[in-house]
């Protein structure tokens, strides 16, 4: 019985979300509000379990080395909650500033070491390798990178040679976007196949059940 009920609920919610394709309606509204409410609660529990319990309470309770450092985020975390008290709410800016500082530091080093250096290295390709096709491929890749980068030049007007190269750059970009779009279609259709198959087999199961 519980199994049949679960199938009903799951199939019903599937249809409710799909009804959005026709337009906004009470059934979708129901599913949407349930979804937002349920998942907000879910993530609250998730954060409690995986962040507060495993990252804060456990290391402190077990006196793990370095647990003392947790004072820093606890302090800034508590400051964040000053937003509930309008008179001292401005103190939460300190916490935002701290997170922005962490963000800026991490993205800066991450972008240089994790992306710029390895990608520039990967682009330094010989245009002649002894093999016609690889040489041509290398040429296409190098030209693609250079013209695209030139498209993102901001401080000079795009006229003359710069203008022409950036035109080639935008064509490359469009090809990349087209490829990426076409490539994704397959995965998206697969998702729908999965969903419709679930719906169809649920219907068959329920018909069988009664």
């Amino acid at each position: 019985m519980i199994e049949a009920l679960s199938i009903w609920v799951a199939a019903g919610l599937t249809l409710a979300i799909m009804s959005f394709l026709y337009g906004d309606n009470p059934v979708y509204k129901f599913a949407e509000h349930l979804y937002v409410g349920y998942s907000a609660g879910y993530w609250l529990i998730y954060t409690w379990h995986f962040t507060i319990k495993l990252m804060v309470i456990q290391p402190i309770a077990e006196k793990q080395p370095g647990a003392l450092w947790l004072v820093i985020p606890l302090f800034f975390g508590a400051l964040m909650l000053t937003r509930w008290f309008p008179r001292i709410a401005w103190m939460s800016r300190w916490s935002i500033a701290f997170t922005v500082g962490i963000g800026a530091g991490l993205t800066l080093t991450g972008a240089v070491h994790g992306y710029i250096i390895p990608q520039v290295k990967a682009t330094i390709l010989p245009l002649w390798t002894g093999n016609g096709l690889t040489s041509f491929n290398n040429f296409v890749i190098v030209v693609g990178v250079i013209t695209t980068l030139i498209y993102f030049f901001f401080s000079k007007p795009h006229t003359g040679v710069l203008g022409k190269t950036s035109k080639v750059g935008i064509l490359f970009i469009m090809v990349a976007f087209g490829a990426s779009f076409g490539y994704t279609v397959m995965a998206r259709i697969s998702l729908l196949i999965g969903r419709l198959d679930f719906l169809w087999s649920s219907i068959l199961k329920l018909v069988h059940f009664f």
Binding site: I17, Y35, V36, S95, A104, I124, P126, F153, S155
Partner: protein
């Protein structure tokens, strides 16, 4: 006989793992025959009588990094590796003990450090130059940013609210930080036109930063009284729950202008198509390269990658900001020059190599290894 040959060829070295925080020793084997099936590493230290198993060595790279929690800096550790062949097992001891140390500088990051210094210098120098001589600073047209005022204006004329939809990454993402800059501009216009705004957030920290940003924008527009914190809401930290919620708000509130700004994942197209169906002008911006095609297809204006990050300079047009854009462009020239020189050396080197002269190719390999 075979054993004797193998014994005489395989060598094992144990040494401090370079460029790390200590408490780790690397064991490397040389001249290992390809027939080896498995290699187990054993360790002992002063006072131990027998070896204990430390782990399994990779038989592709013949390397093993021993970072066991018992390892202490400055203490010698002796290693033995057992090589398993189809019919026999051969033990080889490391020629000298390994001693772990912590390093103060990570040499593998030198290329990053050099780039960082060069790039920062460009940015700082051009900021200084811009302060001295604000004339003649140029920034190319970015239509999506010019369209912000128009979009908010049209939304006001129609008597509809303006929506600002944040992406899914937190404040540690550059796209999110750029989105906040754009939000500030949008909020200022909204305050001037006195039209309603709704900012939806996926991440609570971004929500608090958005609240501060909008508050500042209203103050800047001279209307701090009109600011209402309740218009900047958190929905849920669940990808499609957020999507369902934003979609619902879109079809019910029917905004005249929608800004989709930040780092998006698969939901990008669901949001953009729903926004289009309610007839809103849509200005999207993202640094998620996979999602750009969908925004390009479904939105009226799109900030493509770096254009989004240049937004604050474009909007403010302050000399300092424009100077930093110019500096960053010079960083680009620097990279293009490196790519150009590298490609030239590689190409000529490769041609010379096929003619029998491999000297330049060696230089090329060294350049690549430096990165």
């Amino acid at each position: 006989m075979i054993m004797f040959i193998l014994l005489s060829t395989i060598t094992v070295k144990a040494f401090d793992t370079p460029n790390d925080g200590g408490k780790s020793i690397t064991i490397k084997a040389y001249n290992v025959p390809e027939t080896v099936k498995k290699a187990l590493v054993y360790r002992k230290t002063e006072g131990d009588t027998t070896y204990t198993l430390a782990g399994v060595m990779s038989i592709l790279s013949y390397r093993f990094m021993d970072a066991d929690s018992t390892i202490k800096n400055g203490k010698p550790y002796y290693y033995r590796v057992d090589f398993y062949f189809p019919d026999t097992v051969i033990s080889v001891e490391a020629d000298s003990p390994g001693i772990a140390y912590a390093q103060w500088y990570d040499k593998t990051k030198t290329s990053s450090l050099i780039f960082l210094i060069v790039f920062s210098t460009f940015v700082l120098v051009f900021i200084q130059l811009a302060k001295k001589d604000p004339e003649g600073l140029y920034i190319r047209k970015i239509p999506a940013l010019d369209a912000i005022d128009e979009a908010v204006g049209r939304s006001t004329e129609l008597g509809k609210p303006t929506f600002f939809v944040h992406g899914l990454l937190g404040i540690t993402d550059a796209g999110t930080l750029a989105a906040l800059t754009i939000l500030r501009r949008v909020a200022k216009k909204v305050a001037e036109y006195d039209t309603p705004i709704l900012v939806t957030n996926y991440d609570p920290i971004v929500m608090t930063a958005s609240q501060e940003t909008v508050k500042q924008a209203y103050t800047e527009a001279g209307r701090p009284d009109a600011y209402n914190e309740k218009n900047i809401i958190y929905l849920t930290y669940e990808q499609f729950g957020y999507t369902a919620g934003v979609d619902g708000l879109m079809v019910r509130e029917k905004p005249g202008a929608i800004f989709l700004q930040g780092y998006f994942f698969a939901e990008s197209l669901i949001l953009a198509e729903t926004g289009h169906s309610v007839g809103a002008i849509q200005i999207a911006g993202t640094t998620a390269k996979e999602q750009l095609p969908f925004f390009v297809a479904a939105c009226d204006y799109v900030l493509i990658g770096e254009e989004m990050l240049a937004a604050s300079s474009y909007i403010g047009r302050e000399p300092v900001m424009l100077g930093s854009v110019k500096g960053s462009d010079w960083g680009k020239v620097f990279l293009l020059a490196i790519i150009g020189i590298g490609v030239a050396i590689g190409t000529i080197g490769s041609i010379l190599q096929s003619a029998g002269n491999g000297a330049l190719m060696n230089v090329f390999e060294k350049i690549l290894a430096f990165f």
